[in-house]
Amino acid sequence: MWTCGYVIKVTCGPFISHTHSVAIRCVKGRRGKKMDDIDAMFSHLLGEMDHLSQSLAQAAGSPGVDETPQESSFSIGFNNPNESLDELEDHELDALMADLESKATEQEFSTHNDTSSPAGNQTSPPAIYQECEPVVTFPVVSTQSSRAVKMNEPQTKADKIKVALEKLKEAKVKKLIIKVLMSDSSSKTLMVDERQTVGDVLDKLFEKTHCESSIDWSLCEINPELQIERAFEDHECLVEPLSAWSRHSDNKLYFLSTPQKYMMFTEPQIFYMWKKKKSGTGDMNSQAKELLIKENFGGSTTIVPNLEGMLYLKEDGKKVWKPRYFMLRASGIYYVPKGKTKSSTDLACFVRFDKVSIYTSSSYRQKYRAPTDFCFLLKHPCIQKESPYIKFLCCEDKHTLLLWVNSIRIAKYGADLYKNYQAALKRASTVQTPYSAANKDKSNSHTSLESPYPGPSAHSNESVPTELPPDFIPSPPSGHECL
C-alpha cells in the first residue's frame, strides 16, 4: 500500500546538500551563542542559486531558513566576492520593492479589480499584496523594467526580481507587503515577513507614525463582509492571519488605539470581581489591583474570570436569537442544557478556544436582527464569509460584551497576554526617545533591508528612487509621505 514515487530532480542535488551545511552552521551557531545571521545565509543561498541558475522549482525548502535567528548582531562579512555582489543586488531589490510599492499603487488596482476610487491618496486599496503571487507582482515588475534597463547588469532588473521573488518563495520565508490604514484614513505601507510578530510591526509603526507609543495601540483586522473586527495580539505572527484572507478580500488592516486591549491588567477588578456591581469596583487602589493580577496571572496557571450569564445565541443558519445561560471556563464556553443545573458535570460544551478567534461585530441588529448591537462571534480565522461554522453570540449591554470578549481572550491566550502587556509597558516607557529606541528595536529580520543603506553604493546608484517609503531608510522625523 505504501509506495514512494517522488524523485527530486537530480540537478538540484548540489544545492540541497549545500543548504544542509548552512543549516548545521546555523544551529551550531546558536549553541555557541554566536548566531549566523539568517539573511546572510539567505544571500549566500541566493548566490549559490545564481550559480546553479536553473531548476529552482524543485528546491523543496531549505531547513536552515526555518530557523529563526535570535540575534541580529551579525555583520555581514564578505568572505567571498560573489557574496558581496549578491548582497548588493539584494539591496537593490529591496529598494525596488520599496519603489514599486510607492509608485505602483495604480497598477495594483488593475489586479484587484474590486477596489475602485480612481484617484487621490485617500483611496483605500486592498491592504495586502501577496508578494510571492505572480498575479500581483508581474504587472508591477513590467513598469519598472524601463528603468531597470539603465542598469549595467547582464540581466534586466525585472528578471532579477522575478528570479528573486521565486527564490523568496523557495526559501519559504513568506513576506507580505501590507498597507495599514490609520484612523484618519491615511495609510502606511510596510513589508513584514512571517517571523515578525504584531508587536514588531507595532514598533515599526510607532517609528513611522511618531505617534505616542502607548499600550493601547493595536493592529486590527476588519472584515467588511461580516462586519467584524479583531485586534491582533502582540505575540501573533502577523503574516499568518493575513494569509488567511482570500485574494480579492475587502478586508482591511487598521492601526488603532484600542483602550480595551489591556484592560484586564489595568482594571482587573472589572473581570475578576465582575459580580460586584460597578459601585464596588470602581475605586480600587493600585495595590489591590496588583494583587489581583498576581493572583490570576502570577502563578503557573492563568485564572480565567468565572463569567456566566444569559447570552443570545444565533442558532445555526436560523434568523432567531435564543437566550441561553453560558459559563466561561478555561477549557471553553459551556451552556447549561435545558432542565439541568449549573454544576460542572451537567454543562455542555459550546466551543473550545484552540481553533477559533474572537471577533466583535458592528450593526448586527440591522444585519442579523440581533437583539442588541453588542454581539461577538467565534470563528476559525480562515473563515471569511457567513457560514454555519461561525458562532454568533449577543450580549445584553456594552459592559457584558466587554467582559466576555476580554475574558475569552484571557482564556485563549493566557500567559501570552500577560507577557504582551509587560512587553507593551516596557515599550511604552522606553520609546520616549525615538532615535535610540529606533536603533534598539530594529527587528531581526529587518536588518537585511535596512543595514545596507548607510553604505554609499546604494545611494550612488541612480535607480534608487528618492521617495522611498520611510520603512526602508532611517526615517527623518517628518520625511514620511502617505501613498
Binding site: 500500500m1 505504501w2 509506495t3 514512494c4 514515487g5 517522488y6 524523485v7 527530486i8 540541497i16 546538500s17 544542509h20 543549516a23 548545521i24 544551529v27 546558536r30 549553541r31 523543496a60 531547513p63 488567511a244 482570500s246 459580580k275 489591590a288 494583587l291 493572583e295 502563578g299 503557573s300 496557571t301 492563568t302 485564572i303 480565567v304 468565572n306 471556563r329 478555561a330 477549557s331 471553553g332 459551556y334 443545573t341 449549573k342 454544576s343 460542572s344 458535570t345 454543562l347 460544551c349 473550545r352 484552540d354 481553533k355 476559525h380 480565522p381 480562515c382 473563515i383 471569511q384 464569509k385 457560514s387 454555519p388 461554522y389 461561525i390
Partner: protein, 638 residues
C-alpha cells in the same frame, strides 16, 4: 530538700515491665532525672532521642533545665520515658504507604518538616497530616497485606542536609531497597484499576467534601498530644493550595505527589470538572503513564538543552529525508476512500491519495498520480477527529478543513488499522503544520496504534485491565460517573481526541499541564467546612480558598458571598463558644460557629493562607516558622 520516689515507665523495657523508681528531690532538673533513670536501667544505648512524657497533663518535659518543682511534678505523676521519634504508617498522596519515624514531641508543623526533609519535598508548609478516612474493609481484603515501604532505618541525623547522589537524596542511594522507595516517591503510579476507583469514598455533595477537613491535625500541637500512637496511620497531603516556586528540577517528589493528589481529586470528583475536561485529564494520565515508563528520571535535565537536542534531531531527520533517500519526501500514498460531506448520499469513492508536506492530494488512480491531482487539500490548521470501531473494522478520519466559506468536512476511510494509523498520524502532524518528515511521525503512529489496541482489549474482557501499557482500561482514567455513562470502547475515541493535543509533551510538561488545568478549574483550591453563621438557623458551607472565603447557601447551592483576605482587617476566635469572627474593610463583620471541623482548623486555614501569601523569592530559603505559628497558633501560641 527532702527526697521522694518518682516512678517512671521506661517504654524500652517492654509494656509488662514495672515502672523504674528513682529517688529525686523537687529541685532536681529534668535532665538529672533522665541521667538517674538511664543509670538505673543499666542499658547502654543511645538515649539522646528519649524524653519524658507526663501522662496526666499530656505534656512533654522537654526543658531539661527546668526543675520538677517548676513543672509541678509530684510523686503521683505518671511519667513515661520514651523516644521522641516513633514509627508511623504514612499514607501518601499516591496511595502508597510508607513507614517512617516521625517526631511525636514537636508541633506537627515541625513533624511535617522532618517528614518532608526525609522524602525530599520542598515547601513543607504546604502539606500537613490528617487522620485517614476509615476504609470499610471486607474480610477478604484484610488478608491481602498491603505493601509498606520502610524508611524507619534511615538515621534521623543523615537527612538533615540533603545532598544529591545519583539524582536522589543520599539516604536513598544506600541500598536497592531504598532506591525502590525513592522510585515509588518520584515516579507516577500506573492508572488504578476501575474497581479500585469505584471502591473509594466519593463525596456526593459539598457537605460530604467538608468532612475531610475535620480530620486535619493541629499544626501547633505534637502528635502525642493529639492521641496519635506509635504505628498509627496518618495521611500526608497538600493542605494549602498555593504551590510556591514549583521547579521540576528540584521538586521531583513534590511534583509527582502533587500530581497524584490532583489525579485522585479528579477521579473521585473531589473537584468538579466538565466532561471535556475529564477527557483531557484522562488523556494526560494516559500520556504521563506512557512516558514515565519510557523516560524515567529525566525530570531534572535542562529544558533548554532538550530543545536544542530535539531541534538538532529533527534537523537530522529532515536532512536524511532529503539527502539520503528522496523517497521519504512523500511518506505515504495509497488508496483511501474519500467522501466530502456534501455528497453524503453517494457514500465513499475510491481515489489514489498522496501525502506531501502538509497537504494531501488525490487522483483517479495510481497511474494518474504523476499528473495534476483532482484536488489538493492543505491540512494545516484543520481539525482531525477519529471515527474508529476496531471490531466493526471502521477506520474513518474526519477532517474539518477551514476555508473562507466555512469548514469543509471530509471523511477519509482507511482499509485497515495500519493504514489508518499512518494516515491519522500524518493528518495530525499536518494540522499542526508539521510535515511527515518530522521526527515525531513514528511515535505518533505508535501512540495511535496503542490506542487502537486499547479498544481491542477492552471489547474483549474488561477484567484483565492494566495488564500492560498497551491495554489500559479507559475506565481507569476517568471518574466512576463516566464508567456508567460510557463503555470503555466508547471512551477511547474521546480520550484519543483529547490526546492529540498533549501527545508530544515531555513527562515534566505533561505533569505541569495536568496541574495547570486542575488549577484552572473554577472550584480548585477550595476547602469546605460546614458552619453556622451568627443569626442564621441553618447550616451553610464556608469555602476557604487561597485568596478568599466564600459562603455557599445549601438551599441555593451556589456561592452567595465572597470575601477576600486582602480586605480582612482582623479575625478573632472565641475558643469557649467555638466561634470565629472576622472583620473586613468597610465595616463588614461576619461570625460563625464551625460544625464539621474544629474552629482551630478553620483558624489555621485562614492564617495559613495568609502566611502562604507572605512568602517571597528573597525569603523563600528560610521558612519563617515563627510567623506561621503566630498566624495559625491561636491561644497555643501565647
Amino acid at each position: 530538700m527532702a527526697a521522694w520516689d518518682l516512678s517512671v515507665t521506661v517504654e524500652d523495657l517492654g509494656s509488662d515491665a514495672p515502672p523504674v523508681t528513682i529517688s529525686v528531690a523537687s529541685d532536681l532538673h529534668v535532665g538529672g532525672v533522665i541521667v538517674k533513670l538511664v543509670e538505673k536501667t543499666q542499658i547502654k544505648r543511645d538515649w539522646s532521642d528519649h524524653a519524658l512524657w507526663w501522662e496526666q497533663k499530656q505534656q512533654w518535659l522537654l526543658r531539661t533545665a527546668w526543675t520538677l518543682e517548676k513543672y509541678g511534678i509530684h510523686a503521683d505523676a505518671r511519667l513515661v520515658f520514651m523516644p521522641q521519634h516513633k514509627p508511623i504508617k504514612l499514607g501518601l498522596p499516591n496511595g502508597k504507604t510508607l513507614q517512617l519515624k516521625a517526631c511525636f514531641s514537636n508541633p506537627v508543623f515541625q513533624t511535617v518538616m522532618g517528614i518532608c526533609r526525609m522524602l525530599n519535598i520542598r515547601h513543607p508548609e504546604e502539606l500537613s497530616l490528617l487522620r485517614p478516612v476509615e476504609e470499610k474493609k471486607k474480610k477478604k481484603d484484610k488478608d491481602l497485606a498491603e505493601e509498606i515501604y520502610d524508611l524507619t532505618e534511615v538515621p534521623l541525623s543523615s537527612v538533615s542536609r540533603p545532598c544529591l547522589y545519583n539524582g536522589m537524596p543520599a539516604h536513598f542511594a544506600d541500598s536497592e531497597q531504598m532506591e525502590d522507595v525513592y522510585k515509588m516517591l518520584s515516579i507516577t503510579q500506573p492508572p488504578p484499576a476501575p474497581e479500585v476507583i469505584a471502591k473509594q469514598y466519593r463525596p456526593a455533595s459539598v457537605v460530604d467534601k467538608a468532612h475531610i477537613n475535620g480530620r486535619w491535625l493541629d499544626s501547633s500541637r505534637c502528635l502525642k498530644k493529639q492521641g496519635i500512637q506509635e504505628n498509627d496511620r496518618l495521611w500526608l497531603r497538600f493542605k494549602y493550595y498555593a504551590f510556591y516556586d514549583m521547579d521540576p528540577k528540584y521538586d521531583v517528589v513534590r511534583l509527582t505527589q502533587l500530581y497524584e493528589q490532583a489525579r485522585w481529586a479528579i477521579l473521585l470528583e473531589d473537584v468538579d470538572c466538565t466532561e471535556e475536561e475529564m477527557m483531557l485529564f484522562g488523556a494526560l494520565q494516559y500520556h504521563i503513564n506512557k512516558v514515565s515508563l519510557t523516560e524515567p528520571q529525566t525530570l531534572s535535565s535542562s529544558a533548554a538543552l532538550d530543545d536544542l537536542e530535539s531541534a538538532l534531531m529533527s534537523l537530522e531527520v529532515k536532512m536524511e529525508g532529503e539527502s539520503s533517500s528522496a523517497s521519504e519526501m512523500i511518506l505515504s500514498s495509497g488508496i483511501v476512500h474519500f467522501r466530502p460531506k456534501r455528497l453524503t448520499l453517494k457514500g465513499y469513492k475510491q481515489y489514489w491519495f498522496k501525502f506531501q508536506d502538509t497537504s494531501i492530494s488525490y487522483f483517479k488512480s495510481k497511474e494518474e498520480s504523476i499528473g495534476e491531482p483532482i484536488q489538493q487539500i492543505n491540512l494545516k490548521g484543520c481539525e482531525v477527529a477519529p471515527d474508529v470501531n476496531v471490531t466493526a473494522q471502521k477506520f474513518l478520519i474526519r477532517l474539518l478543513i477551514p476555508a473562507p466559506e466555512g469548514m469543509n468536512e471530509v471523511y477519509l476511510r482507511c482499509e485497515n488499522e495500519q493504514q489508518y494509523a499512518q494516515w491519522m498520524a500524518g493528518c495530525r502532524l499536518a494540522s499542526k503544520g508539521k510535515s511527515l518528515a518530522d521526527s515525531s511521525f513514528q511515535s505518533e503512529i505508535q501512540s495511535i496504534r496503542s490506542f487502537l489496541a486499547m479498544q481491542k482489549t477492552n471489547s474483549g474482557s474488561s477484567n484483565n485491565a492494566a495488564a500492560s501499557d498497551e491495554s489500559i482500561n479507559t475506565h481507569s482514567l476517568v471518574s466512576p460517573r463516566y464508567h456508567k455513562k460510557y463503555k470503555p470502547k466508547q471512551l477511547t475515541p474521546r480520550i484519543l481526541d483529547a490526546y492529540q493535543n498533549v501527545a508530544q509533551l515531555s513527562l515534566t510538561d505533561a505533569l505541569m499541564r495536568f496541574l495547570q488545568i486542575w488549577q484552572a478549574l473554577p472550584d480548585f483550591g477550595l476547602s469546605y467546612v460546614v458552619v453556622r453563621f451568627k443569626g442564621s438557623r441553618k447550616d451553610e458551607v464556608l469555602g476557604i480558598a487561597p485568596n478568599r472565603l466564600i459562603r455557599i447557601d445549601l438551599g441555593v447551592g451556589d456561592v452567595v458571598k465572597t470575601w477576600r483576605y486582602n480586605n480582612m482587617k482582623q479575625w478573632n476566635v472565641n475558643w469557649d463558644i467555638k466561634q470565629m469572627a472576622i472583620e473586613f474593610e468597610g465595616n463588614v463583620n461576619i461570625a460563625f460557629g464551625c460544625v464539621t471541623a474544629d474552629c482551630k482548623i478553620v483558624h489555621e486555614f485562614i492564617g495559613g493562607y495568609i502566611f502562604m501569601s507572605t512568602r517571597s523569592r528573597e525569603k523563600s530559603d528560610t521558612l519563617n516558622e515563627e510567623l506561621f505559628h503566630k498566624l495559625t497558633g491561636g491561644h497555643e501560641a501565647l
